[in-house]
Amino acid sequence: MARVLITDDAAFMRMQLKDIISKLGHEVVGEADNGATAVQLADELKPDLITMDITMPEMNGVDATRSIRGTNPDVKIIVCSAMGQQSMVVDAIQAGANDFVVKPFNAERIKESIDRVLS
């Protein structure tokens, strides 16, 4: 079981992810609605895994991933974004993301990604 921080500016998407992740047996320890809050909560809560949206107000998910990775080399970060173009995937991976899931996703896709990054 992993301790998970969910990051997405849409409350609806956080609700979806929380539901899927909880049903997979993981614990959702926090929710952030922008990249800056994610950076702060990642430091405070020390989650094992972070889901990260890209297009968000305040700080985008790529910058937040880079910032979190700078201080925490071990946390697993899964970027979940509607922006699936190769350049965006490359940016996210270079910033330190472990995996990339394109929205819309389903529970199975989230499970695969979590299993992969935690293995």
């Binding site: 609806f12 297009t55 509607a82 922006m83 699936g84 190769q86 929205k103 819309p104």
Partner: protein, 152 residues
């Protein structure tokens, strides 16, 4: 974009990218109507607006009855969605369609980014753009969603 020809190619790519995005992301049988140039201003009651930046600048607006957004959300995510969550879902639906659009048009050589969604509720008029293309999409047993591609 410099020449008129390049610009109309870009608009065609935007339109095709939007249609492909709707087809790929919304699991409801639908019919896409004929794209038409719309008037000088848009009047909306409920919808979502996403900015497009980069090689082509504009906005994508999704407009429809709130129950249409709710039913599409239910088809996509398997649960009925109302009230505050409906506003959030509508924003996310816009984000997913615009994100798909941005992804699709890379193959036409257009690099774009999108902004976080803005929700429109109540009577609103949008004006001050170069042109707007209206794309009506009729979802079976749900209703119509109008997509507006605004070119700045």
């Amino acid at each position: 974009m410099t020449s008129t020809e390049e610009r109309s190619k870009a608009i065609t790519s935007l339109l095709n990218g939007t249609i492909m995005s709707v087809k790929n992301t919304i699991p409801v049988q639908h019919t896409i109507g004929k794209p038409q140039l719309s008037g000088e201003s848009l009047k909306l009651q409920f919808g979502v607006l996403i900015g497009i930046t980069g090689d082509i600048k504009g906005k994508l607006v999704l407009s429809g009855e709130s129950n249409v957004f709710s039913s599409i959300g239910e088809a996509m995510f398997g649960m009925p969605i109302q009230d505050e969550m409906l506003v959030s879902l509508s924003g996310e639906l816009g984000n997913i369609i615009a994100g798909g659009l941005s992804t699709n048009i890379v193959q036409s050589g257009l690099k774009t980014d999108i902004t976080a969604p803005t929700i429109i509720e109540g009577n609103m008029t949008i004006s001050g753009y170069e042109r707007v293309i209206q794309l009506p999409v009729l979802f079976n047993a749900i209703g119509e969603l109008d997509l507006f591609l605004i070119i700045d």
